[in-house]
Amino acid sequence: MAIAENLPSTTTERPIGFGRLKRKEDARFIRGAGTYLDDIKLPGMVYGAVLRSPYAHARILSIDTSAALAHPNVAAVVTAKDLETLGLAWMPTISYDTQAVLAGDKVRFQGQEVAFVIATDEYSANDALALIDVEYDPLPPVVNARKALDEDAPLIRDDKSGQRDNLASPTWEAGDEAATDAAFAEADTVVARDIIYPRCHPAPLETCGIIADFNPQTGQLDIYNGNQAPHAHRTVYAHVAGLAEHMIRIRCQDIGGGFGNKVPVYPGYVCAIAGSIVAGVPVKWVENRSENLMSTGFARDYIMKSEICAKDGKITGLRVDVIADHGAFDSTAQPTKFPAGFFHIVCGSYDLQASHVKVKAVYTNKAPGGVAYRCSFRITEAVYLVERMVDALALEMQVDPIDLRMNSFIGSDQFPYETTTGWTYDSGDYAKTMCVAMEIADYAGLRREQAEKRARGELMGIGVSFFTEGVGAGPRKHMDILGLSMNDGADLRVHPSGKAVVSISAQTQGQGHETTFAQIVAEELGIPPEDVEVRHGDTDKSPYGLGTYGSRSTPVSGAAVAVVSRKVRDKARAIAATMLETRPEDLAWEKGRWFVKGDPEQGALIEDIAERAYSGEAMPAGMEGGLDAQVIYDPPNLTYPYGAYIAVVDVDPDTAHVTVRRFIAVDDCGVRINPMVVDGQIHGGLAEGIGIALMELISFDEEGNCLNSSFMDYLIPTALECPDFELGETVTPCPHHPIGAKGIGESPNVGSPPAIVNAVIDALYESHGVDHIDMPCTPARVWAAMQGRPQPPQ
């Protein structure tokens, strides 16, 4: 077991393949020379701005744009009426619902798009918004998801024929209800909790934006846009705008973070495209921070009722009943056949007798979303639920929460393991990983320290979580989005000089693909990573694939790159055999070179083979010239990374302020391509988890007004809220992934919130009787809980 502590200086480390290679992309970023969306200026470009609804629910009586149109710098004002003539008033969501591009009949959430102004500059476009006069007739809003299906609840989606209530998605089930009832009947301990995973927002530092450039002469639509799935976006635009797919080109240059927020197509994008088609010039639209927080993809918002049971000191059963708040339009992100995403991984890391899950989704007068904020579709909600329930059970049983987990884990000899909800976990040694975390934390020492502090009236808490994630969606027989299989392509060309270009369909938002994907090629072909250029973010120059979210990059796209490299290596073997006048099967491989078995002096380097492949010399019989290959990778299964996290918190008894003093994260993500990048991913996800557990919340008042629409009140952790994270690792290679990797980006966000909340409860149970609290654990909410008045976060 290796423990990765403070990053060593690795200036001299230059691995040919896997290892702590410094990032190639840094060179432009440290100079401020990245090219983010708002850095791009096209000749003749004009600027768009969106007028938004001040009401959560209101009928639109009239829209008067005459004063805005009279503004000297305004070129056009687009409303729903104009979009109707283009057939663009409504657009499909990724959950087979429809969403208004601009509201025509009524507005259904505060911040909804009502009109789009195009002007010669950004300031004028925003000035003109104030000149548009919209007359509204306010309607009662549905804010509380638990009341959305009440008889007297106002109907939100009266645009949908046949829609009589606010049900967005009917009850979806997984697991075995009867077997679960039996497990509960046999159990000796049963605990119930109502647990909310409140609405939060990915809030990448760069907001969403687009430049649409339609050329009426050629019919070509060029789009510049920071999104996480450029090929899927292009297909959607072809359907929405009725444009030929091959005449649309999407370029994603540098992206200032995504975290799921940049997966969907937003109304502002369609407005800019419509604007460019109408105006015949490039139209740029970049949302401001309030627009980002109020209207684009929120995350979570799951209201969960759950029971967990145990028998003879071991967890045996779990049942969960969820109401999902999907907002005004159902644009949750997940594969088609999984309306609650992968929430049914809620059986966690435990060898249960049975489990049963029910999820139904409702419409409310809130922004649409349900994106996976740095998690694989709804796994964050699932892990939070089960890890809170296990702690509640441990509290009831008066046992140590780690002991209960250890007694209940799936054994390392049980893999591949079929869960009670139908997942096939590929590999794992959970107890070992838990032990590494306990060792780094000095768990016994922490418990002693806690006892001493309690005696002095100090409130210290130790919280544990153990998660299993399912990432890398996914096998085409099970998973698609809008009918598109969740596969990824890779195209590798080794040039005559031995330098290579690999084109991929994954879309970096900071993950470091330009470095790590070059390392995969380097590992497989034995050429230096600096000789491999990674191309991405241009639909004209990369193979089709579904992009980067759900920790897909390494499990799917990374596998594609490994497989395509091996195809090139196989071709190189045949060419080398011709060069060495022997048979391919008589050659053996070492990094960068094929050589004759038994005569290692006789060999050919990849660069010599590449030179030969493009030369006038003979190729193997029947083989075309060149040294390149192409693949579309269809993963046989998800990969299942896991980890053991321990949080140590101090709660100020006077102010109820929670400080995360230590955070220990031991991840098993299989083989690590670049451990430096992996550690960086973990640090970032832990910070987001601290934010969600303690600070980040999108909430609404009774009128449906969004109360967290800027960074003044949507609080994101700074360097002062984050501890000096302590990382460890175990490595259990994924058996079905070409390089044994499992994906890491989202594990820390998935695993950290329950550890922190468990720690807060651990700090407060003995002294204050707090056995439950909902996130975020702000001082006000912790204080209320300490006084015996817990507040749900609505």
Binding site: N6, L7, S9, T11, K22, R23, E25, D26, A27, R28, F29, I30, R31, G32, A33, G34, Y36, D38, D39, E122, Y123, A203, P204, L205, E206, T207, D254, I255, G256, G257, F259, N288, R289, S290, Q509, G510, Q511, G512, M676, V677, D679, G680, Q681, I682, H683, G684, G685, L686, A687, E688, S710, F711, M712, I716, T718, A719, L720, C722, D724, F725
Partner: protein, 159 residues
């Protein structure tokens, strides 16, 4: 109105709207797009530049207020083909991922080291607490600033 501002050592005069924010003056008028914008409320720090050596959030400073003042942006960190130790530290310690907060973080770090060449971890965390990074969890940023401090000290000793 007309303003004369020295940006990265070059003085220039421009006719501007009185309401023009410094961040927009830098990005739109001067095409210095290394300074980013991330919020409207002075919370995120992506737009931090140095004004007369002090870190300021350029989204809440009017260009008009900079008349006669000196501004330094990320584009001026590298001089004569030599990276600033802060830039080197960020690369060495993997203190950036998407790169969007990086210019503001680096300028904040530069201002800190100019005032306090040997900051403790807590002093670094406090100094950068006005800036948000969504990717790194700050650990490697703290490490990068220490790297820069140590290398700057070593260079001065060697000189």
């Amino acid at each position: 109105m007309n303003v004369t501002i020295t940006v990265n050592g070059r003085e220039a005069s421009h006719e501007i709207e009185p309401r023009l924010l410094l961040v927009h003056y830098l990005r739109e008028t001067l095409d210095l797009t290394g300074t980013h914008w991330g919020c409207d409320t002075s919370n995120c720090g992506a737009c931090v530049v140095l004004m007369d050596g002090q870190p300021v959030k350029s989204c809440t400073i009017l260009a008009a207020m900079c008349d006669g003042h000196e501004i330094r942006t990320v584009e001026d960190l590298e001089r004569d083909g030599k990276l600033d130790p802060v830039q080197e530290g960020f690369h060495e310690r993997h203190a950036l991922q998407c790169g969007f907060c990086t210019p503001g973080m680096q300028m904040t770090a530069r201002a800190l080291l100019d005032e306090n060449p040997d900051p403790t971890e807590h002093e670094i965390r406090t100094a950068i607490s006005g800036a948000i990074c969504r990717c790194t969890g700050y650990k490697n940023i703290v490490s990068a600033v220490r790297w820069a401090a140590e290398h700057e000290a070593a260079t001065k000793q060697g000189a």
